[in-house]
Symmetry: C2
Subunit: 151 residues, 2 copies
Amino acid sequence: MQTLPAATEDTPTRTDICSAAPRRHPRPDGQDRYTISEVAAFTGLTAHTLRWYERIGLMSHIDRSHTGQRRYTNRDLDWLDLVGKLRLTGMPVADMVRYAELVREGDHTFDERRELLETTRQDVLARIAELRDTLAVLDRKIDFYSSERTR
Amino acid sequence: MQTLPAATEDTPTRTDICSAAPRRHPRPDGQDRYTISEVAAFTGLTAHTLRWYERIGLMSHIDRSHTGQRRYTNRDLDWLDLVGKLRLTGMPVADMVRYAELVREGDHTFDERRELLETTRQDVLARIAELRDTLAVLDRKIDFYSSERTR
DNA sequence: CGCTTGCTTCGAGTGCACTCCAAGGTCATA
DNA sequence: TATGACCTTGGAGTGCACTCGAAGCAAGCG
């Protein structure tokens, strides 16, 4: 933990997307191989969307069963978790694909990844500020309507 | 006149969308009649979008010059301001149109308008919470990438 | 007067992020 | 072993929020 946390339990890849997050592996059940519908149920995405994510390069290669069906791992779930978070910052899918590519390219893209995340961070801060602003307007109007009613 | 105020000009109409906001009339210049391109410049929307807003019922009737060209008032700018705020909360345009309809229907829709705004308010609060959450994830990852680089 | 710029309308086109379909193969259970 | 739920693919379709185009009218200027 102190010096160099292995990126994943079972495969210590430095490039792993989620190394910085606290491990929360034990998923729905204890397994590490989920069907597409299990993942759909767990993430709230549809199976269609999961396949589409893969097609556009937002998910790197997903394991397959001997008959070719997708078998998602806990690592994939972690990644989908991050994608979900980034998605609700309003980050375009194309940018997330870019990030995914950087991850696939290996450790030498660390700097670029950090920059990308820092840009996103600024966007999120800005968006929060905007929303606060909007909240103030909303509150003013709600007050107005409330006080009008009791006049 | 008293009982049913005409809903135009600078008169304090109860139904006015922006009664609850502090007046900040003096716009770009001191006037109260702007062309569509002036409004476009001021709001950042395109003329196309402004016309489209009108078509779908998001703007109630806009004044016209004697030759049929649109002449926007400060009141219209106020409304566009609100629309802009609501838009960036992620509120669908259809809901904003609904709100616009309520405004057009008159004072007896005050309650419904307040409810709509309160629902929106909750949405905004929820979204801010989500964004904070995302920010935490982002910060963790940025830290990770920074510390990796300086190892 | 001609020229440029800006306005009008309506309908069609765009880009994004899914979302669904058809045709067929696979898996669990009665 | 048969039934029905679930999986595969590529490609087409959907909904939203614009965005643009075409044809034509109008205003200001040298």
